[in-house]
Symmetry: C2
Subunit: 124 residues, 2 copies
């Protein structure tokens, strides 16, 4: 199985090491809660998800990008619940033979996630 999706309660932990046979490029993105939201200081973000649909959509975006760009594997973890400033709420790993497709797919994945996946956040 070359797609792994995790919805995590609270912050996303540091990932375990990842080895993908044949990969020349492992690209990772970690989204961290910033100290301000629309110019206001915040303590953190509360994430809510329509969970079964969120998981299904994340997996479907990943499979589409793997096919389109000939990637080797993707790993995605997203928080629900409370995530404090400085903590990680989203993590994406992409493995590919070469760098260009890995980097392109990373940007595309995040755009699609924001558009199509039912996860909302509220600053506190």
């Amino acid at each position: 199985m070359n797609v792994e999706v995790q919805i995590v309660d609270g912050p996303v932990p540091e990932p375990r090491q990842w080895a993908v046979a044949g990969a020349g490029a492992l690209v990772s993105f970690a989204g961290v809660v910033r100290p301000t939201e629309e110019g206001q200081a915040i303590e953190g973000l509360m994430y809510e998800a329509y969970r079964p649909m969120a998981e299904r959509q994340i997996e479907s975006i990943a499979r589409m990008l793997i096919t389109e760009h000939g990637l080797l594997a993707m790993r995605i973890a997203h928080s629900v619940g409370w995530v404090r400033v400085g903590e990680c709420s989203f993590r994406l790993d992409v493995a590919a033979a070469h760098r260009q497709e890995a980097i392109t797919a990373m940007g595309e994945f995040i755009n699609r996630l924001k558009q199509d996946v039912p996860i909302w956040k509220q600053a506190r």
Copy 2:
């Protein structure tokens, strides 16, 4: 100091955790030695560098990209010497407030590295 450059003998180890104040996006690239080079099976790659110039050039590319894209920090590690198939020979971490500049700078850094930094490799 928001640029950290390391030339490492042998494979690049797993990085220590990285926290950068104000960062919303931490993007990482790991370059791994692939099992073939120009269609031939290989055991690994031997990297040679003109080391003082390589370090200086890497730092100068990083500083230029930090200024150009308003990044927060960069960390770079590159191998010299013997790196086996499946091991990491290059690692780049970029911290920025937002994802777009981090992802763009990652791609640009690697292109500049390949063009401008005196590091050579030989398959064995």
